[in-house]
């Protein structure tokens, strides 16, 4: 077991993941440390970014996970039995998924779902849980928490649903939140609101945030550090503010391929994939 220094919450070294029955690793040699900061992981679909997030919570029962080290505070995630993982998941590390339509239970009212998630981890009376939930719904800027508490998920909008998910995930005061494409399913007008709420809560509570996204702009604005993944590897690690100084041709290509408002209407530069990007790289 590795001792982490006090600033580091999560440390991953040389993480490799292979799904059962596949010839190659879906993720290889991924290493990073997470402190009380916001870390972004970007890449195209299939680059392995979500797989990394899921592996941290050991949500991949059919995959073989190998790593030199996967240390979360005092817990060695790699060798933690499932029974103990139940206490970590949702309480100390929680996860916000892409689409609230699918991650909330459609036949249960929103409020009691949040209560249940809380009472799963913390012993308290139903009344107390309800109060905590209402307070939390208020802090994600839901104006009338009493009313929303009693609504079914189909009765709330996408932005509201995602805020309820955020409330549910932050209620147990986790140390790390993994947000897997938290706003991809939302419209631009509510996207920023939801991100601002998430951002404010994460800062206030000193939570380590891992933001998984395909959207470079978003990650650039809402993270401190960014890992760029290609074909299962981290090809570049950058401070978000230095994104424009990216050196890897893949990062540059992704940045250039985006159309910009008011940009010239010249054909967009197209990413030319090179075989050497697939070779093993070591990024510190």
């Amino acid at each position: 077991m590795k001792e982490l220094n006090s600033d580091t919450i999560l440390s991953v070294e040389n993480l490799s993941i292979r799904y059962r029955g596949t010839p190659t690793d879906a993720v290889r040699n991924v290493s990073f440390n997470l402190g009380k900061e916001r870390l972004g992981i970007v890449g195209e679909s299939g680059s392995g970014k979500s797989t990394v997030g899921r592996a941290l919570l050991k949500l991949l029962p059919t995959a073989e996970i190998k790593a030199d080290c996967m240390q979360f505070r005092d817990i060695d995630l790699l060798n933690t039995p499932e029974k103990q993982m139940l206490k970590v998941r949702g309480q100390r590390i929680s996860m916000i998924l892409q689409d609230p339509k699918f991650s909330l239970n459609p036949i249960q009212k929103c409020g009691p779902q949040v209560d249940e998630a809380y009472r799963n981890h913390i012993r308290c009376s139903k009344k107390e849980a309800r109060q905590r939930t209402l307070a939390m719904l208020e802090s994600v800027q839901i104006r009338d928490p009493e009313r929303v508490y009693g609504l079914y998920p189909h009765e709330v909008s996408g932005g509201m649903g995602q805020r309820i998910m955020i409330a549910m995930m932050l209620l147990t005061d986790p140390d790390v939140v993994i947000a897997d494409e938290p706003t991809s399913a939302l419209d631009v007008t509510v996207r920023l609101q939801v991100l601002d709420i998430l951002d404010a809560l994460v800062r206030d509570k000193g939570i380590g945030l891992i933001m998984i996204s395909h959207d470079l702009n978003l990650v650039r604005n809402f993270c401190d550090r960014v890992l760029i993944m290609y074909a299962g590897q981290v090809v570049e690690a950058l401070n978000a503010s230095e994104m424009h100084n990216a050196r890897h041709p893949y990062t540059k290509g992704l940045l250039a391929a985006q159309p910009h408002i008011g940009g010239p209407r010249a054909p967009l530069p197209v990413l030319e994939r090179r075989p050497e990007w697939l070779e093993d790289v070591k990024v510190v």
Binding site: V188, L192, N221, L254, G262, G263, P267
Partner: protein, 249 residues
């Protein structure tokens, strides 16, 4: 180059009004965008136009002819639709050859092989892709096949329903370039539905902002950078997109 005019398009199902009143004109050879949040009715307009949804009142005319008066054959030869998700819009058990030859058979056209080859070349795919199945293609390649399928009957108008929102930015760039090139070469009229203002700005000359089934405002592309929208909702939408974008500079 055929113009499109939509006049007082209205959908009412029982007491629920889905689209109260949508009217706009698209010039021949123009690229017109429809933008709005999910549920604002932008895709519905395209579905009405292609008669995939039939219970509407009002008038949709293409080059002066109402779409309801056209025969199904004529309609298919005049406009074609490209759907959002290439993973869902191609038949998984039909090879590219079958997908492309079906409309040719129905319309009793000649020179199948040649037409299929030229459609694939137009969208930048090699000819030997004809014998592939959708699962053997990447997302961008699938969308190219879907565009080739729309091109094969040589329509004048393409209806593009979020053509790139299921794709990565890198692939989106390829598809947008392809669409721009095709319009220059063949003089298509485009109707693009999108929720991404940057895409609309890149492609369109004019666009309509929709909310709750209504057209809030029709704006030219030039109005975007300094947000010249007059209506509050259009202003809010553009401001949100700009804010999202500005920090990138």
């Amino acid at each position: 180059m055929k113009p499109v005019s939509i006049d007082k398009l209205r959908i009412q199902l029982g007491s629920a009004v889905i689209l109260p009143d949508v009217s706009f004109e698209v010039n021949g050879g123009e690229c017109f965008g429809l933008i709005g949040e999910s549920g604002s009715g932008k895709s519905t307009v395209l579905r009405c136009m292609s008669l995939l949804f039939n219970s509407w009142s009002g008038d949709i005319r293409i080059d002066g002819t109402s779409v309801r008066e056209m025969s199904a054959f004529e309609r298919c030869r005049t406009f074609q639709m490209v759907f959002q998700d290439p993973y869902g819009s191609l038949h998984p058990r039909h090879s590219v050859r079958t997908t492309l030859s079906e409309p040719l058979k129905i319309h009793k056209l000649d020179n199948h092989q040649q037409r299929m080859e030229s459609a694939l070349t137009d969208v930048g795919l090699p000819v030997d892709f004809l014998d592939r199945y959708p699962h053997q293609l990447s997302g961008g390649q699938r969308q190219r096949v879907a565009i080739a399928r729309a091109l094969i009957l040589e329509p004048d108008i393409l209806l593009l329903d979020e053509p790139t929102s299921a794709l990565d930015v890198s692939v989106q760039a390829e598809i947008l370039n392809l669409l721009v090139r095709l319009r220059e070469e063949k003089g298509f009229t485009y109707l693009i539905v999108s929720h991404d203002l940057a895409v609309v700005d890149h492609m369109c000359d004019r666009f309509a902002v929709m909310q709750g089934g209504k057209i809030v405002e029709i704006l030219p592309r030039e109005a975007i950078p300094d947000n010249q929208a007059a209506m509050p909702y259009a202003k809010e939408l553009i401001a949100a997109s700009l804010k999202y974008e500005r920090t990138v500079e």
